[in-house]
């Protein structure tokens, strides 16, 4: 363990500010038009860990499973168990999302299960947030924003894709029918929020708790 510097970066007793703290979502709840085509909720301040390793190595896959109880997803895959999800990001990269504050313990558990292997675990919780979008117009809004084909035939539930979004990039996750998540980098979050308001204007946008 001394080979890597690991420490709990999140204070237990101080409230954090998510990347869209300034948008004041709490004050916007219930203020959108009724039957809005897009309903948005920020799944904020979760634990985000980037995990890298060799997917072809059974010891790695086994260790991940042992630590998380989840199978490593293959390309463009997303698996979830309760509040924990594991997403393929690249041939040797995954994104693990755990409930707020569990990222430190999870990292330690992963490192223990993968001890002796060449891996990387990095806490990236402060650098990104998740916007959950529901409603029957989410797909149309996504079509305005990305050139990736979001038709369910091409983008079924359980798929996640890092792609171009407006003039930025983010990860689109299809988590349930008519439910999508955008994984947004902190510094771009304001731009994406501005874009979403504009792109959803014709469908109606409601903020949910």
């Amino acid at each position: 363990m001394t080979a890597i510097n690991v420490y709990n970066q999140r204070p237990a007793d101080i409230a954090g500010q998510s990347p869209l703290h300034h948008a004041g979502f709490e004050q916007l709840i219930g203020k959108g038009r009724p039957n809005a085509g897009v309903r948005l909720r920020e799944r904020k301040l979760l634990g985000h860990l980037t995990l890298r390793g060799d997917a072809k190595d059974p010891a790695f896959c086994g260790g991940v499973h042992q630590a998380l109880g989840l199978e490593l997803p293959v390309a463009l895959g997303l698996v979830a168990k309760g509040e924990t999800s594991l997403q393929w990001m690249g041939p040797d990269e995954w994104l693990l999302i755990v409930p707020r504050g569990e990222e430190y313990a999870t990292e330690l558990r992963l490192r223990e299960a993968l001890a002796g292997q060449h891996i990387q675990v990095v806490n990236v919780s402060g650098g990104q947030t998740i916007l959950e979008l529901k409603g029957d117009k989410v797909r149309d809004m996504l079509m305005k924003s990305t050139s990736y084909d979001v038709h369910p035939d091409n983008f079924p539930v359980g798929k996640a894709v890092g792609t171009v979004f407006a003039k930025s990039q983010l990860v689109i996750r299809h988590t349930a029918e008519n439910t999508w998540e955008l994984l947004v980098r902190r510094s771009f979050a304001d731009y994406i929020w501005l874009w979403l308001q504009d792109a959803c204007a014709e469908y109606g946008l409601a903020i949910e708790a």
Binding site: A3, N123, S125, K144, Y191, W195
Partner: protein
Amino acid sequence: MSQVNRLSRGGRVDRSQPLTFTFNGQRYQGFAGDTLAAALLANGVDVVGRSFKYSRPRGIVAAGAEEPNAVIQLGSREATQVPNVRATQQALYDGLVASSTNGWPNVDTDLMGLVGKVGGQMMPPGFYYKTFMFPQSMWPTYEKYIRKAAGLGRAPTENDPDSYDLINRHCDVLVIGAGPAGLAAALAAARSGARVILADEQEEFGGSLLDTRETLNGKPAAEWIEQVLAELKTFPEVLLLPRATVNGYHDHNFLTIHERCTDHLGETAPLGAFAHKPVRQRLHRVRAKRVVLAVGAHERPLVFANNDVPGNMLAGAVSTYVRRYGVAPGKQLVLATNNDYAYRTVLDWLDAGLQVVAVADARSNPRGAWVEEARSRGVRILTGSSVVEVRGSKRVKAARIAAIDTRSHRVTSPGEWLECDLVASSGGYSPVVHLASHLGGKPTWREDILAFVPGDGLGLQARVCAGAVNGVFALGTVIADGYSAGSKAATDAGFKAVNGKLPRAEERREEATLALFHVPHDKPTARAPKQFVDLQNDVTAAGIELATREGFESVEHVKRYTALGFGTDQGKLGNINGLAIAARSLGISIPQMGTTMFRPNYTPVSFGAIAGRNCGPLFDAKRFTALHAWHVKNGALFEDVGQWKRPWYFPKPGEDLHSAVARECLAVRSSVGLLDASTLGKIDIQGPDAREFLNRVYTNAWTKLDVGKARYGLMCKEDGMVFDDGVTACLADNHFLMTTTTGGAARVLQWLELYHQTEWPELKVYFTSVTDHWATLTLSGPNSRKLLAEVTDIDLDKDRFPFMTWQEGKVAGVPARVFRISFTGELSYEVNIQADYAMGVLEKLAEAGKKYNLTPYGTETMHVLRAEKGFIIVGQETDSTVTPDDLNMGWCVGRTKPFSWIGWRGMNREDARREGRKQLVGLRTVDPNQVLPEGTQLVFDPKQPKPMQMAGHVTSSYQSASLGHSVALALVKGGLSKLGQKVYAPCRDGRLIEAEIVSSVFYDPKGDRQNI
């Protein structure tokens, strides 16, 4: 308000819904379902514009996209102006306001008319090139008047009140055109289960079926349209897009569709539910697996003398106005034709109870079914003849029909003047090959139908052509062709085609078209009254002949010399006639002549639709740090650094940039300042080979960097030139945190991955960006230790936490890593906190810092402070031609590292080591208050003759409040060996600034202040 030309019945307009509109200041009435052109014709408006060059009165010629004359300016107020709208494609709405684009000051009495009358001599083809390009300096003056006179429309000068949208679509089959072929193709593709888009430029689907006199299954064709649409609407994967023009066919079967969502409802989108203004226009960006091109054909007019006088129309357009809009654009019809199909116009005209004066058929003995029907209904048919000339100025008054010999291209009888007010002409049908040719594929000539059809598309277009564009014209075969094209497209896209029963069309005997394009005149072309080929650009048959006589033989040259097919026309109406005339003049065939290039867009697209919502605040992505709100609250002005918004400086009331920066600089040097350094790129590096990897990508050595320490590093490209720099800290044996420049973050991560994945995959190391995860607060200045000590549990003792090391602990209650590194030359601490918790830490620091006059500072002060220390900024002191030695940073080059690291060989090339390279030095102006402009060139001898020998240039330059004089960094040839010598900066404003070459470190040269 009376619609003098409106028929009492017939057409698809709704006579119960009258609409009022204004054209050129005059109020008129039309009906719902009209186009603006139909409504103008209904009201007997003959003149809709003046011509481009000769300023001749012009009327409506066509009923669709090929209309050359009725190009109008739309909009009742400044913000809603839309130029270059074809009246034939603009649906009428209540309150529509339009005016002629051409015609200054007005279309009926045009000042330019006088010029136009003598224009034959004044404005020959090649007019621009011959007259106005010399002297070139006068061109802007000429252009201003020509543009106004030519009437190219004008853009609004106020902001557009509407919103526009881009949308990405994917489909298996995109069907372009919803005429008989397109509808059948869409049906076939939809039935196979494919994802289908059917796009058509008109207000309603149906294409030629909307005005045909032919029946399907013995019933009006419109009933079949309804059936097909009803069925298409049952398929969830079918998208129907009316009012949507496919304007471009780009690489990889990517097509752009311009949909006008609300243009038929008003000049701006009407408010919808919840006071929301809907999107006015959408640009669909379609990736289609297969395309069915069912775009139909354009009728060609015949080219005869005065064929531009209002009242000259395409035969098919006359039928369209009569049958679809219930408008008779005249009373007494003469038809000039070379084919059978145009006889429908005569029959439609008779059905409407109107008078047919005569038909001039160029063929000697036409016997087709519709010819015989016309004959049996008493129509006078003059065979072997054509309309050779028309009389009239603002309206056709008479037409002369004479016998012609098409072989010798001669008029063989004096002919007969017939009184009439409408001359319909048809010279055959040209498939609309535009989209098929957008990627460079050349159309192919088919002599049997006297037309170009789409070529093979160079294999770049995965498409199937169907119907008239494919050279298939009879209605029954068109529908069959469409259905099979739709089936083939769906099959090619991986679906199983479904057979379907097709509607029964009438069988009809039809005879071949005669090759006639340019009708001969008794006089030679050059002396005959003008015979127009391209009405929009005023290109005449004589002009094309002149161009060929002057040696322009290539079709592209003829086009550019005469302007044939320029403007919104893009070769729709006059192209083939022009080619035919040029070919005959050159004694070659039409296919030998070939066609010009067809380019997107097929019809004009508004800029709004192209921009979509990427305008205003959404023009580009902006990036913000976690502390942005605090900066705003504290009065920061911001600077763009890449996409980041970084605080530039924090002016107090009454301060300008200069005084604010002076105050901020002095605060840092005398007490403590605070900088948000969160934008610096940060890369977490883990793995047993991390250290070796650093050795190879940095110029300096990393083998001996202990855990807990940090080191500055330079990165070079292979050529030995500096491309990024930053401090990297050793967090643990196998764990490093690299920082990069703000702008270089993504570039450096890519660089590391590139080398890891392609050159050194055997090295066990991973890289992950943590730029957004960490917020970085920099405290800098002699009081920074005292301040930080008040909010941290870290032991800040100078021996236990020395310069270039880091410590972990809590700052303001939040876990933090604190780095003792300095970009100002002062005692500094960089506090890294998970970004979610940075605001609270900043607020506590700011509170505790009050007694130390903690001063927030921005990029400008940062630049001054580091320049005083001679610290480089990559991209400012460097420009990809600068080696570490050029920067006098040889201490940062590991010359004995065992592995040949990136840049080592490059910087040892002869040229990189030669004497006299530009080297980084300081400059001190002789007048301490003169600040050298950044970028200024330097010379050693200001008295030498021009052009002077350049000695280098200024890279950074500021007034230093701390030092009381200006400081500058410069790259000077051999500068390091010229310390103490003078250089001179001849400035653009005439000043000559004298400066002394000095060390680049102006402030605290021994570095005592940062290491205490």
